[in-house]
Protein backbone atom coordinates (compact mmCIF):
# COMPACT_ATOMS: atom_id res chain seq x y z
CA UNK A 1 0.00 0.00 0.00
CA UNK A 2 2.75 2.40 0.92
CA UNK A 3 4.46 1.30 -2.26
CA UNK A 4 1.41 2.18 -4.30
CA UNK A 5 1.25 5.59 -2.66
CA UNK A 6 4.93 6.17 -3.35
CA UNK A 7 4.36 5.07 -6.94
CA UNK A 8 1.65 7.65 -7.42
CA UNK A 9 3.72 10.45 -5.86
CA UNK A 10 6.77 9.64 -7.94
CA UNK A 11 4.74 9.34 -11.13
CA UNK A 12 3.04 12.63 -10.45
CA UNK A 13 6.28 14.43 -9.68
CA UNK A 14 8.02 13.01 -12.75
CA UNK A 15 5.33 14.21 -15.04
CA UNK A 16 4.65 17.52 -13.33
CA UNK A 17 8.21 18.73 -13.11
CA UNK A 18 8.63 18.35 -16.86
CA UNK A 19 10.46 21.33 -18.27
CA UNK A 20 8.39 23.02 -20.95
CA UNK A 21 4.95 24.45 -20.37
CA UNK A 22 2.07 22.25 -21.55
CA UNK A 23 -0.08 25.35 -21.90
CA UNK A 24 2.34 26.68 -24.52
CA UNK A 25 2.23 23.31 -26.27
CA UNK A 26 -1.58 23.43 -26.45
CA UNK A 27 -1.77 27.00 -27.72
CA UNK A 28 0.99 26.56 -30.27
CA UNK A 29 3.76 29.11 -30.71
CA UNK A 30 1.53 31.61 -32.56
CA UNK A 31 -1.33 31.65 -30.08
CA UNK A 32 0.66 32.57 -27.00
CA UNK A 33 -0.42 35.80 -25.38
CA UNK A 34 -0.27 36.61 -21.69
CA UNK A 35 -4.06 36.38 -21.34
CA UNK A 36 -4.55 33.11 -23.24
CA UNK A 37 -1.63 31.57 -21.37
CA UNK A 38 -3.14 32.49 -18.02
CA UNK A 39 -6.53 31.20 -19.12
CA UNK A 40 -5.24 27.82 -20.29
CA UNK A 41 -3.01 27.44 -17.27
CA UNK A 42 -6.02 28.08 -15.10
CA UNK A 43 -8.14 25.62 -17.05
CA UNK A 44 -5.45 22.95 -16.58
CA UNK A 45 -5.11 23.94 -12.90
CA UNK A 46 -1.44 24.58 -13.57
CA UNK A 47 -1.64 27.75 -11.50
CA UNK A 48 -2.37 25.83 -8.32
CA UNK A 49 0.37 24.58 -5.97
CA UNK A 50 1.83 21.13 -6.59
CA UNK A 51 0.38 19.29 -3.56
CA UNK A 52 -3.14 20.54 -4.39
CA UNK A 53 -2.75 19.36 -7.97
CA UNK A 54 -1.56 15.98 -6.71
CA UNK A 55 -4.61 15.53 -4.46
CA UNK A 56 -6.99 16.43 -7.30
CA UNK A 57 -5.19 14.17 -9.73
CA UNK A 58 -5.15 11.25 -7.28
CA UNK A 59 -8.85 11.68 -6.59
CA UNK A 60 -9.58 11.39 -10.29
CA UNK A 61 -7.27 8.41 -10.74
CA UNK A 62 -8.91 6.50 -7.90
CA UNK A 63 -12.19 6.90 -9.79
CA UNK A 64 -10.61 5.52 -12.94
CA UNK A 65 -10.24 8.95 -14.52
CA UNK A 66 -6.68 9.17 -15.82
CA UNK A 67 -7.21 12.56 -17.37
CA UNK A 68 -7.91 13.89 -20.83
CA UNK A 69 -5.30 13.99 -23.55
CA UNK A 70 -5.43 17.32 -25.36
CA UNK A 71 -3.13 16.12 -28.10
CA UNK A 72 -5.53 13.35 -29.12
CA UNK A 73 -8.71 14.82 -27.67
CA UNK A 74 -9.46 11.48 -26.00
CA UNK A 75 -9.58 10.50 -22.37
CA UNK A 76 -6.54 8.54 -21.24
CA UNK A 77 -8.83 5.99 -19.62
CA UNK A 78 -10.46 5.14 -22.94
CA UNK A 79 -7.07 4.86 -24.63
CA UNK A 80 -5.86 2.47 -21.94
CA UNK A 81 -9.08 0.50 -22.23
CA UNK A 82 -8.58 0.10 -25.98
CA UNK A 83 -4.91 -0.83 -25.66
CA UNK A 84 -5.10 -3.17 -22.67
CA UNK A 85 -6.55 -6.27 -24.41
CA UNK A 86 -3.80 -6.11 -27.02
CA UNK A 87 -1.03 -5.95 -24.43
CA UNK A 88 -2.71 -8.59 -22.27
CA UNK A 89 -2.96 -10.96 -25.23
CA UNK A 90 0.72 -10.58 -26.06
CA UNK A 91 1.79 -11.08 -22.45
CA UNK A 92 -0.37 -14.18 -22.02
CA UNK A 93 0.82 -15.63 -25.30
CA UNK A 94 4.44 -14.93 -24.32
CA UNK A 95 3.98 -16.69 -20.98
CA UNK A 96 2.36 -19.69 -22.69
CA UNK A 97 5.18 -19.97 -25.24
CA UNK A 98 7.82 -19.60 -22.55
CA UNK A 99 6.28 -22.21 -20.24
CA UNK A 100 5.54 -24.72 -23.02
CA UNK A 101 9.21 -24.72 -23.95
CA UNK A 102 10.78 -24.12 -20.55
CA UNK A 103 8.98 -26.82 -18.54
CA UNK A 104 10.07 -29.81 -20.66
CA UNK A 105 13.51 -28.26 -20.98
CA UNK A 106 13.83 -27.81 -17.23
CA UNK A 107 12.65 -31.36 -16.49
CA UNK A 108 14.89 -33.04 -19.04
CA UNK A 109 18.00 -31.03 -18.16
CA UNK A 110 17.51 -31.83 -14.46
CA UNK A 111 16.96 -35.52 -15.25
CA UNK A 112 20.03 -35.72 -17.49
CA UNK A 113 22.01 -33.20 -15.49
CA UNK A 114 25.67 -32.78 -16.40
CA UNK A 115 25.05 -34.48 -19.73
CA UNK A 116 26.17 -32.88 -22.98
CA UNK A 117 22.61 -31.74 -23.66
CA UNK A 118 22.34 -30.15 -20.22
CA UNK A 119 25.61 -28.29 -20.66
CA UNK A 120 24.58 -27.11 -24.11
CA UNK A 121 21.21 -25.95 -22.81
CA UNK A 122 22.87 -24.17 -19.91
CA UNK A 123 25.24 -22.39 -22.26
CA UNK A 124 22.46 -21.42 -24.66
CA UNK A 125 20.14 -20.12 -21.96
CA UNK A 126 22.96 -18.14 -20.37
CA UNK A 127 23.73 -16.60 -23.75
CA UNK A 128 20.06 -15.92 -24.41
CA UNK A 129 19.90 -13.84 -21.24
CA UNK A 130 22.51 -11.53 -22.76
CA UNK A 131 20.51 -10.71 -25.87
CA UNK A 132 18.37 -7.59 -25.45
CA UNK A 133 14.69 -7.88 -26.37
CA UNK A 134 14.93 -5.31 -29.16
CA UNK A 135 17.72 -7.30 -30.82
CA UNK A 136 15.61 -10.47 -30.64
CA UNK A 137 12.69 -8.57 -32.15
CA UNK A 138 14.67 -7.19 -35.08
CA UNK A 139 16.24 -10.58 -35.78
CA UNK A 140 12.83 -12.28 -35.74
CA UNK A 141 11.67 -9.80 -38.39
CA UNK A 142 14.84 -10.37 -40.39
CA UNK A 143 14.39 -14.15 -40.36
CA UNK A 144 10.65 -14.73 -40.49
CA UNK A 145 9.36 -11.67 -42.34
CA UNK A 146 12.20 -10.62 -44.65
CA UNK A 147 13.89 -13.92 -45.47
CA UNK A 148 11.32 -16.66 -45.05
CA UNK A 149 8.31 -14.38 -45.63
CA UNK A 150 6.21 -16.53 -43.31
CA UNK A 151 4.87 -13.78 -41.10
CA UNK A 152 3.94 -10.12 -41.45
CA UNK A 153 6.63 -7.82 -40.07
CA UNK A 154 4.28 -5.53 -38.16
CA UNK A 155 0.75 -4.39 -37.62
CA UNK A 156 -2.20 -5.66 -35.68
CA UNK A 157 -5.61 -7.28 -36.29
CA UNK A 158 -8.06 -7.59 -33.42
CA UNK A 159 -8.73 -11.09 -32.11
CA UNK A 160 -12.46 -10.63 -32.65
CA UNK A 161 -11.98 -9.51 -36.26
CA UNK A 162 -9.91 -12.42 -37.52
CA UNK A 163 -8.47 -14.92 -35.01
CA UNK A 164 -6.03 -16.54 -37.43
CA UNK A 165 -4.62 -13.26 -38.73
CA UNK A 166 -4.48 -12.04 -35.15
CA UNK A 167 -2.31 -15.00 -34.21
CA UNK A 168 -0.02 -14.41 -37.19
CA UNK A 169 0.52 -10.83 -36.05
CA UNK A 170 0.87 -11.67 -32.37
CA UNK A 171 3.25 -14.60 -32.60
CA UNK A 172 6.46 -12.66 -33.27
CA UNK A 173 6.03 -9.99 -30.58
CA UNK A 174 5.10 -12.72 -28.09
CA UNK A 175 8.09 -14.84 -29.06
CA UNK A 176 10.46 -11.90 -28.69
CA UNK A 177 9.18 -11.43 -25.15
CA UNK A 178 9.20 -15.16 -24.42
CA UNK A 179 12.76 -16.10 -25.40
CA UNK A 180 14.56 -14.58 -22.38
CA UNK A 181 11.81 -15.94 -20.14
CA UNK A 182 12.51 -19.46 -21.41
CA UNK A 183 16.01 -19.08 -20.04
CA UNK A 184 14.80 -17.75 -16.69
CA UNK A 185 12.08 -20.40 -16.27
CA UNK A 186 14.05 -23.45 -17.39
CA UNK A 187 17.03 -22.58 -15.19
CA UNK A 188 14.74 -22.09 -12.23
CA UNK A 189 12.82 -25.33 -12.77
CA UNK A 190 16.02 -27.29 -13.36
CA UNK A 191 17.45 -26.11 -10.05
CA UNK A 192 14.30 -26.97 -8.11
CA UNK A 193 13.96 -30.32 -9.86
CA UNK A 194 17.52 -31.23 -8.88
CA UNK A 195 16.70 -30.54 -5.23
CA UNK A 196 13.52 -32.60 -5.44
CA UNK A 197 15.24 -35.51 -7.18
CA UNK A 198 17.66 -35.74 -4.25
CA UNK A 199 14.86 -36.38 -1.80
CA UNK A 200 13.94 -39.68 -0.17
CA UNK A 201 10.50 -40.03 -1.70
CA UNK A 202 12.02 -39.96 -5.16
CA UNK A 203 14.53 -42.64 -4.20
CA UNK A 204 11.62 -44.64 -2.81
CA UNK A 205 9.59 -44.29 -6.00
CA UNK A 206 12.65 -45.33 -7.95
CA UNK A 207 13.24 -48.42 -5.79
CA UNK A 208 9.58 -49.32 -6.23
CA UNK A 209 10.43 -49.69 -9.91
CA UNK A 210 8.48 -46.76 -11.30
CA UNK A 211 9.57 -45.55 -14.70
CA UNK A 212 11.65 -42.37 -14.90
CA UNK A 213 8.81 -40.78 -16.80
CA UNK A 214 6.33 -41.38 -13.99
CA UNK A 215 8.75 -40.25 -11.32
CA UNK A 216 9.58 -37.06 -13.17
CA UNK A 217 6.12 -36.05 -14.30
CA UNK A 218 3.96 -37.74 -11.66
CA UNK A 219 5.99 -37.18 -8.53
CA UNK A 220 8.78 -34.67 -8.92
CA UNK A 221 7.38 -31.97 -11.19
CA UNK A 222 4.60 -30.76 -8.93
CA UNK A 223 6.63 -30.10 -5.80
CA UNK A 224 9.32 -28.50 -7.95
CA UNK A 225 7.07 -26.05 -9.69
CA UNK A 226 6.00 -23.69 -6.88
CA UNK A 227 8.72 -21.13 -7.37
CA UNK A 228 8.28 -21.40 -11.12
CA UNK A 229 4.62 -20.46 -10.77
CA UNK A 230 5.52 -17.54 -8.53
CA UNK A 231 8.26 -16.22 -10.75
CA UNK A 232 6.08 -16.64 -13.83
CA UNK A 233 3.54 -14.43 -12.07
CA UNK A 234 6.14 -11.86 -11.07
CA UNK A 235 7.40 -11.74 -14.63
CA UNK A 236 4.08 -10.28 -15.77
CA UNK A 237 5.32 -6.98 -14.40
CA UNK A 238 8.61 -7.32 -16.23
CA UNK A 239 6.80 -8.25 -19.44
CA UNK A 240 4.80 -5.02 -19.21
CA UNK A 241 8.10 -3.19 -19.47
CA UNK A 242 9.13 -5.45 -22.32
CA UNK A 243 5.97 -4.73 -24.28
CA UNK A 244 7.05 -1.09 -24.57
CA UNK A 245 9.93 -2.27 -26.73
CA UNK A 246 8.14 -5.05 -28.55
CA UNK A 247 5.05 -3.01 -29.39
CA UNK A 248 7.22 -0.28 -30.84
CA UNK A 249 9.19 -2.69 -33.04
CA UNK A 250 6.16 -4.57 -34.31
CA UNK A 251 3.86 -1.55 -34.40
CA UNK A 252 1.29 -3.08 -32.09
CA UNK A 253 -1.30 -0.67 -30.62
CA UNK A 254 -0.91 -1.65 -26.96
CA UNK A 255 -0.13 0.08 -23.68
CA UNK A 256 3.58 0.32 -24.45
CA UNK A 257 3.02 2.05 -27.76
CA UNK A 258 0.63 4.42 -26.03
CA UNK A 259 3.41 5.40 -23.63
CA UNK A 260 6.09 5.79 -26.29
CA UNK A 261 3.85 7.78 -28.60
CA UNK A 262 2.85 9.96 -25.67
CA UNK A 263 6.51 10.74 -25.08
CA UNK A 264 7.20 11.43 -28.77
CA UNK A 265 4.28 13.86 -28.86
CA UNK A 266 5.06 15.31 -25.41
CA UNK A 267 1.53 14.41 -24.42
CA UNK A 268 1.99 14.90 -20.69
CA UNK A 269 -1.40 13.67 -19.53
CA UNK A 270 -1.18 10.39 -21.43
CA UNK A 271 2.35 9.69 -20.23
CA UNK A 272 1.32 10.41 -16.65
CA UNK A 273 -1.75 8.17 -16.82
CA UNK A 274 -0.06 5.27 -18.59
CA UNK A 275 3.02 5.35 -16.36
CA UNK A 276 0.86 5.23 -13.26
CA UNK A 277 -1.26 2.48 -14.77
CA UNK A 278 1.78 0.31 -15.53
CA UNK A 279 3.37 1.04 -12.14
CA UNK A 280 0.14 0.22 -10.32
CA UNK A 281 -0.36 -3.01 -12.27
CA UNK A 282 3.21 -3.98 -11.54
CA UNK A 283 2.93 -3.30 -7.82
CA UNK A 284 -0.46 -5.02 -7.51
CA UNK A 285 0.63 -8.10 -9.47
CA UNK A 286 3.73 -8.46 -7.32
CA UNK A 287 1.67 -8.09 -4.18
CA UNK A 288 -0.93 -10.67 -5.23
CA UNK A 289 1.72 -13.16 -6.33
CA UNK A 290 3.57 -12.75 -3.03
CA UNK A 291 0.35 -13.46 -1.14
CA UNK A 292 -0.48 -16.44 -3.34
CA UNK A 293 2.99 -17.80 -2.85
CA UNK A 294 2.76 -18.04 0.91
CA UNK A 295 -0.73 -19.56 0.60
CA UNK A 296 0.31 -22.06 -2.06
CA UNK A 297 3.47 -23.33 -0.58
CA UNK A 298 3.59 -24.13 3.13
CA UNK A 299 6.08 -26.87 2.30
CA UNK A 300 8.80 -24.43 1.34
CA UNK A 301 8.15 -22.27 4.37
CA UNK A 302 8.88 -25.33 6.49
CA UNK A 303 11.87 -26.03 4.30
CA UNK A 304 13.23 -22.59 5.01
CA UNK A 305 12.81 -23.06 8.74
CA UNK A 306 14.69 -26.35 8.52
CA UNK A 307 17.41 -24.76 6.44
CA UNK A 308 18.00 -21.89 8.82
CA UNK A 309 17.85 -24.01 11.97
Amino acid sequence: MSTLFAASVITFLFTSLLPGDPAVAILGPSGVTQESLTAVRHELSLDRPLPARYITWLGHVVHGDFGHSFALNRSVGSQIKAALPVTAEIIVLALVIALVIAVPLGVVTAWKSESVGDRASSLITFTMLSVPTFVIGVFLILIFAVHLRWLPASGWVALSANPLENLRKAIMPATALALPQIAVFSRLLRGDMLTTLDQDFVAFADSKGLSSRRILLGHALRPSSFSLVTVAGLQIGYLMGGTVVVETIFNVPGIGQLLVNGIYQRDLVTVQGVTLFIAATFVIVNFVVDMLYSVLDPRIRRGNVAATA
Binding site: R119, F134, F139, R187, Y238, V245, I263, T275
Partner: protein, 308 residues
Protein backbone atom coordinates in the same frame (compact mmCIF):
# COMPACT_ATOMS: atom_id res chain seq x y z
CA UNK B 1 12.05 -19.06 -3.45
CA UNK B 2 13.70 -16.29 -5.23
CA UNK B 3 17.00 -16.94 -3.57
CA UNK B 4 17.45 -19.99 -5.68
CA UNK B 5 16.46 -18.17 -8.80
CA UNK B 6 18.87 -15.43 -8.00
CA UNK B 7 21.63 -17.82 -7.41
CA UNK B 8 21.25 -19.45 -10.76
CA UNK B 9 20.23 -16.29 -12.56
CA UNK B 10 22.28 -13.28 -11.75
CA UNK B 11 21.06 -11.86 -15.02
CA UNK B 12 17.44 -11.99 -14.07
CA UNK B 13 16.22 -8.60 -15.10
CA UNK B 14 17.13 -6.68 -12.01
CA UNK B 15 16.92 -3.27 -13.54
CA UNK B 16 13.82 -3.90 -15.53
CA UNK B 17 11.71 -5.52 -12.88
CA UNK B 18 13.24 -4.80 -9.60
CA UNK B 19 11.54 -8.03 -8.58
CA UNK B 20 14.36 -10.55 -8.67
CA UNK B 21 16.97 -9.42 -6.22
CA UNK B 22 20.68 -9.54 -6.68
CA UNK B 23 22.39 -12.61 -5.34
CA UNK B 24 22.42 -11.88 -1.67
CA UNK B 25 22.97 -15.16 0.08
CA UNK B 26 25.09 -17.98 -1.11
CA UNK B 27 22.94 -21.05 -1.61
CA UNK B 28 24.79 -24.21 -2.43
CA UNK B 29 22.79 -25.48 -5.36
CA UNK B 30 23.83 -27.97 -7.94
CA UNK B 31 24.31 -25.50 -10.71
CA UNK B 32 24.64 -25.85 -14.45
CA UNK B 33 27.57 -27.02 -16.44
CA UNK B 34 28.70 -23.43 -16.47
CA UNK B 35 29.06 -23.51 -12.71
CA UNK B 36 31.03 -26.72 -12.63
CA UNK B 37 33.66 -25.74 -15.11
CA UNK B 38 37.16 -26.47 -13.99
CA UNK B 39 39.14 -23.54 -12.68
CA UNK B 40 41.51 -23.55 -15.63
CA UNK B 41 38.80 -23.32 -18.26
CA UNK B 42 37.15 -20.70 -16.13
CA UNK B 43 40.32 -18.61 -16.18
CA UNK B 44 40.58 -18.90 -19.95
CA UNK B 45 36.95 -17.82 -20.29
CA UNK B 46 37.48 -14.94 -17.88
CA UNK B 47 40.58 -13.87 -19.81
CA UNK B 48 38.74 -13.84 -23.13
CA UNK B 49 35.87 -11.84 -21.65
CA UNK B 50 38.13 -9.28 -20.01
CA UNK B 51 40.17 -9.00 -23.23
CA UNK B 52 37.00 -8.24 -25.21
CA UNK B 53 35.87 -5.68 -22.65
CA UNK B 54 39.33 -4.11 -22.75
CA UNK B 55 39.20 -4.01 -26.54
CA UNK B 56 35.84 -2.25 -26.48
CA UNK B 57 37.14 0.30 -23.99
CA UNK B 58 40.27 0.92 -26.07
CA UNK B 59 38.12 1.38 -29.19
CA UNK B 60 35.82 3.76 -27.35
CA UNK B 61 38.73 5.92 -26.19
CA UNK B 62 40.86 5.64 -29.32
CA UNK B 63 38.13 5.77 -31.97
CA UNK B 64 39.58 9.00 -33.36
CA UNK B 65 43.02 7.50 -33.98
CA UNK B 66 41.82 4.23 -35.46
CA UNK B 67 43.56 3.70 -38.83
CA UNK B 68 41.31 4.07 -41.84
CA UNK B 69 38.37 5.35 -39.83
CA UNK B 70 37.36 8.89 -40.74
CA UNK B 71 34.57 9.91 -38.42
CA UNK B 72 31.14 8.69 -37.41
CA UNK B 73 29.41 11.21 -39.63
CA UNK B 74 31.75 11.27 -42.64
CA UNK B 75 29.74 10.55 -45.76
CA UNK B 76 30.74 8.42 -48.73
CA UNK B 77 27.87 9.24 -51.11
CA UNK B 78 28.88 6.70 -53.76
CA UNK B 79 28.69 3.79 -51.33
CA UNK B 80 25.30 3.70 -49.65
CA UNK B 81 23.80 0.64 -47.97
CA UNK B 82 26.78 -1.44 -49.05
CA UNK B 83 27.78 -4.67 -47.36
CA UNK B 84 31.17 -5.09 -45.67
CA UNK B 85 34.17 -4.27 -47.88
CA UNK B 86 37.85 -3.60 -47.26
CA UNK B 87 37.31 0.16 -47.04
CA UNK B 88 34.12 -0.15 -44.98
CA UNK B 89 34.61 -3.12 -42.67
CA UNK B 90 30.98 -3.22 -41.49
CA UNK B 91 29.47 -1.68 -44.64
CA UNK B 92 27.72 1.68 -44.94
CA UNK B 93 24.31 3.06 -44.01
CA UNK B 94 21.67 4.87 -46.05
CA UNK B 95 23.69 8.11 -46.09
CA UNK B 96 26.94 6.34 -46.90
CA UNK B 97 28.32 6.63 -43.36
CA UNK B 98 30.81 3.97 -42.30
CA UNK B 99 29.10 1.61 -39.85
CA UNK B 100 32.37 0.37 -38.36
CA UNK B 101 33.24 3.96 -37.43
CA UNK B 102 29.77 4.43 -35.98
CA UNK B 103 30.10 1.26 -33.91
CA UNK B 104 33.49 2.45 -32.61
CA UNK B 105 32.13 5.86 -31.64
CA UNK B 106 28.92 4.25 -30.37
CA UNK B 107 31.03 2.31 -27.87
CA UNK B 108 31.69 5.66 -26.18
CA UNK B 109 28.06 6.09 -25.27
CA UNK B 110 27.84 2.58 -23.84
CA UNK B 111 31.15 2.94 -22.00
CA UNK B 112 30.32 6.32 -20.45
CA UNK B 113 26.84 5.19 -19.41
CA UNK B 114 28.18 1.97 -17.90
CA UNK B 115 31.04 3.63 -15.99
CA UNK B 116 29.06 6.61 -14.68
CA UNK B 117 26.13 4.51 -13.54
CA UNK B 118 28.53 2.05 -11.90
CA UNK B 119 30.24 4.91 -10.06
CA UNK B 120 26.96 6.44 -8.91
CA UNK B 121 25.37 3.13 -7.96
CA UNK B 122 28.44 1.81 -6.21
CA UNK B 123 29.33 4.95 -4.27
CA UNK B 124 25.83 5.96 -3.22
CA UNK B 125 24.21 2.53 -2.93
CA UNK B 126 27.30 0.88 -1.49
CA UNK B 127 27.71 3.54 1.20
CA UNK B 128 24.03 3.52 2.17
CA UNK B 129 24.03 -0.27 2.32
CA UNK B 130 27.14 -0.34 4.50
CA UNK B 131 25.57 2.10 6.95
CA UNK B 132 22.37 0.04 7.06
CA UNK B 133 24.14 -3.27 7.46
CA UNK B 134 26.70 -2.16 10.00
CA UNK B 135 24.98 0.43 12.17
CA UNK B 136 21.55 -1.26 12.08
CA UNK B 137 18.82 0.40 14.14
CA UNK B 138 16.00 2.58 12.82
CA UNK B 139 18.12 3.90 10.00
CA UNK B 140 18.35 0.39 8.60
CA UNK B 141 14.57 0.09 8.71
CA UNK B 142 14.13 3.30 6.74
CA UNK B 143 16.75 2.33 4.18
CA UNK B 144 15.29 -1.14 3.66
CA UNK B 145 11.79 0.31 3.21
CA UNK B 146 12.97 2.90 0.71
CA UNK B 147 14.92 0.25 -1.19
CA UNK B 148 11.88 -2.01 -1.36
CA UNK B 149 9.72 0.84 -2.65
CA UNK B 150 12.21 1.82 -5.32
CA UNK B 151 12.73 -1.77 -6.40
CA UNK B 152 9.01 -2.36 -6.75
CA UNK B 153 8.82 -0.12 -9.82
CA UNK B 154 8.95 -1.24 -13.40
CA UNK B 155 12.32 0.39 -13.87
CA UNK B 156 12.36 0.50 -17.66
CA UNK B 157 9.04 2.33 -17.71
CA UNK B 158 10.12 4.76 -15.02
CA UNK B 159 13.37 5.34 -16.85
CA UNK B 160 11.59 6.08 -20.12
CA UNK B 161 9.37 8.55 -18.31
CA UNK B 162 12.30 10.07 -16.41
CA UNK B 163 14.54 10.51 -19.44
CA UNK B 164 11.71 12.00 -21.47
CA UNK B 165 11.65 14.81 -18.92
CA UNK B 166 15.25 15.27 -17.86
CA UNK B 167 16.47 15.57 -21.40
CA UNK B 168 18.56 13.26 -23.49
CA UNK B 169 22.12 14.32 -22.85
CA UNK B 170 24.58 11.54 -22.14
CA UNK B 171 25.11 12.77 -18.57
CA UNK B 172 21.39 12.84 -17.79
CA UNK B 173 20.92 9.32 -19.05
CA UNK B 174 23.97 8.01 -17.22
CA UNK B 175 22.88 9.62 -13.97
CA UNK B 176 19.31 8.36 -14.36
CA UNK B 177 20.59 4.82 -14.89
CA UNK B 178 22.95 5.18 -11.94
CA UNK B 179 20.10 6.40 -9.78
CA UNK B 180 18.04 3.35 -10.75
CA UNK B 181 20.93 1.07 -9.83
CA UNK B 182 21.33 2.57 -6.34
CA UNK B 183 18.72 0.40 -4.53
CA UNK B 184 20.20 -2.79 -5.98
CA UNK B 185 23.68 -1.92 -4.71
CA UNK B 186 22.20 -0.83 -1.40
CA UNK B 187 20.53 -4.16 -0.87
CA UNK B 188 23.61 -6.13 -1.87
CA UNK B 189 25.99 -4.06 0.19
CA UNK B 190 23.75 -4.26 3.26
CA UNK B 191 23.53 -8.05 3.02
CA UNK B 192 27.30 -8.40 2.78
CA UNK B 193 27.90 -5.89 5.54
CA UNK B 194 25.53 -7.84 7.80
CA UNK B 195 27.53 -11.01 7.15
CA UNK B 196 30.91 -9.38 7.66
CA UNK B 197 29.83 -7.51 10.79
CA UNK B 198 29.26 -10.84 12.51
CA UNK B 199 32.75 -12.13 11.71
CA UNK B 200 35.27 -12.57 14.49
CA UNK B 201 37.88 -10.22 13.08
CA UNK B 202 35.35 -7.40 13.20
CA UNK B 203 34.52 -8.17 16.81
CA UNK B 204 38.23 -8.40 17.53
CA UNK B 205 38.84 -4.97 16.03
CA UNK B 206 36.04 -3.52 18.15
CA UNK B 207 37.35 -5.29 21.23
CA UNK B 208 40.78 -3.87 20.45
CA UNK B 209 39.30 -0.41 20.93
CA UNK B 210 38.86 0.72 17.33
CA UNK B 211 36.06 3.17 16.76
CA UNK B 212 33.08 2.02 14.69
CA UNK B 213 33.81 4.25 11.72
CA UNK B 214 37.36 2.98 11.60
CA UNK B 215 36.16 -0.63 11.76
CA UNK B 216 33.69 0.12 8.97
CA UNK B 217 36.43 1.57 6.81
CA UNK B 218 39.28 -0.80 7.61
CA UNK B 219 37.53 -4.13 8.19
CA UNK B 220 34.05 -4.16 6.65
CA UNK B 221 34.52 -2.10 3.49
CA UNK B 222 37.48 -4.04 2.05
CA UNK B 223 35.55 -7.27 2.45
CA UNK B 224 32.34 -6.01 0.88
CA UNK B 225 33.92 -4.20 -2.05
CA UNK B 226 35.06 -7.18 -4.17
CA UNK B 227 31.58 -8.69 -4.27
CA UNK B 228 30.09 -5.32 -5.13
CA UNK B 229 32.58 -4.83 -7.94
CA UNK B 230 31.88 -8.29 -9.32
CA UNK B 231 28.19 -7.52 -9.28
CA UNK B 232 29.07 -4.17 -10.84
CA UNK B 233 30.21 -5.96 -14.01
CA UNK B 234 26.83 -7.66 -14.30
CA UNK B 235 25.07 -4.38 -13.57
CA UNK B 236 27.13 -2.70 -16.30
CA UNK B 237 25.83 -5.23 -18.80
CA UNK B 238 22.27 -4.44 -17.73
CA UNK B 239 23.00 -0.73 -18.04
CA UNK B 240 24.28 -1.19 -21.57
CA UNK B 241 21.18 -3.17 -22.49
CA UNK B 242 18.85 -0.56 -21.02
CA UNK B 243 20.70 2.33 -22.69
CA UNK B 244 20.58 0.34 -25.93
CA UNK B 245 16.84 -0.04 -25.50
CA UNK B 246 16.43 3.69 -24.93
CA UNK B 247 18.54 4.51 -27.99
CA UNK B 248 16.59 1.99 -30.00
CA UNK B 249 13.36 3.73 -29.03
CA UNK B 250 14.94 7.06 -29.94
CA UNK B 251 14.83 8.27 -26.34
CA UNK B 252 18.56 8.36 -25.63
CA UNK B 253 21.32 10.60 -26.99
CA UNK B 254 19.97 12.36 -30.05
CA UNK B 255 21.12 11.87 -33.63
CA UNK B 256 23.66 12.19 -35.20
CA UNK B 257 25.63 10.92 -32.16
CA UNK B 258 26.02 7.21 -32.85
CA UNK B 259 25.00 4.68 -30.21
CA UNK B 260 24.63 0.93 -30.56
CA UNK B 261 20.90 0.86 -29.98
CA UNK B 262 20.43 3.75 -32.40
CA UNK B 263 22.47 1.96 -35.08
CA UNK B 264 20.25 -1.10 -34.77
CA UNK B 265 17.14 1.07 -34.94
CA UNK B 266 18.44 2.76 -38.12
CA UNK B 267 19.28 -0.59 -39.69
CA UNK B 268 15.81 -1.87 -38.95
CA UNK B 269 14.49 0.10 -41.94
CA UNK B 270 16.89 -1.52 -44.39
CA UNK B 271 16.65 -5.18 -43.39
CA UNK B 272 16.11 -6.23 -46.98
CA UNK B 273 18.76 -4.07 -48.64
CA UNK B 274 21.50 -4.18 -46.01
CA UNK B 275 20.94 -6.77 -43.28
CA UNK B 276 24.53 -6.29 -42.07
CA UNK B 277 23.52 -2.86 -40.81
CA UNK B 278 21.63 -4.64 -38.05
CA UNK B 279 23.57 -7.86 -37.70
CA UNK B 280 27.07 -6.49 -37.02
CA UNK B 281 26.19 -3.82 -34.43
CA UNK B 282 23.89 -6.36 -32.71
CA UNK B 283 26.74 -8.85 -32.59
CA UNK B 284 29.09 -6.33 -30.99
CA UNK B 285 26.42 -5.33 -28.46
CA UNK B 286 25.55 -8.92 -27.52
CA UNK B 287 29.20 -10.00 -27.24
CA UNK B 288 29.94 -7.09 -24.93
CA UNK B 289 26.94 -7.83 -22.73
CA UNK B 290 27.79 -11.53 -22.66
CA UNK B 291 31.44 -10.82 -21.79
CA UNK B 292 30.43 -8.59 -18.87
CA UNK B 293 27.94 -11.18 -17.66
CA UNK B 294 30.37 -14.09 -17.76
CA UNK B 295 33.19 -12.09 -16.18
CA UNK B 296 30.94 -10.74 -13.45
CA UNK B 297 29.42 -14.13 -12.73
CA UNK B 298 32.82 -15.85 -12.58
CA UNK B 299 34.29 -13.25 -10.24
CA UNK B 300 31.20 -13.13 -8.07
CA UNK B 301 31.32 -16.85 -7.50
CA UNK B 302 35.03 -16.71 -6.80
CA UNK B 303 34.72 -14.01 -4.13
CA UNK B 304 31.75 -15.64 -2.51
CA UNK B 305 33.31 -19.08 -2.24
CA UNK B 306 36.81 -17.76 -1.47
CA UNK B 307 35.84 -14.95 0.88
CA UNK B 308 33.77 -16.96 3.34
Amino acid sequence: MSLRQLDSDPLAPVVETGAPLPPVIEVATGGGGFRRRSARRENVGLGICLAWIGLVVVCAIGARWFPGVKGPNAIDPFNRLKGPTASHLFGTDELGRDIFARVLYGARVSAVVAVVSLAVGLCVGGAIGLVAGYFRGWIEGVIVWATDVLLSFPALVMLIALVAYTGRSLMHISLALGFLAVPVYTRLSRAHALNIAGEEFVLAARAGGARRLRVLRREVLPNVLPSLLAYGLIAMSLTIVVEGTLSFLGLSVSAPTPSWGGLIADGQHYLKEAPMMVILPSLVLCLTVLALNIAGETLRRRYESGGG
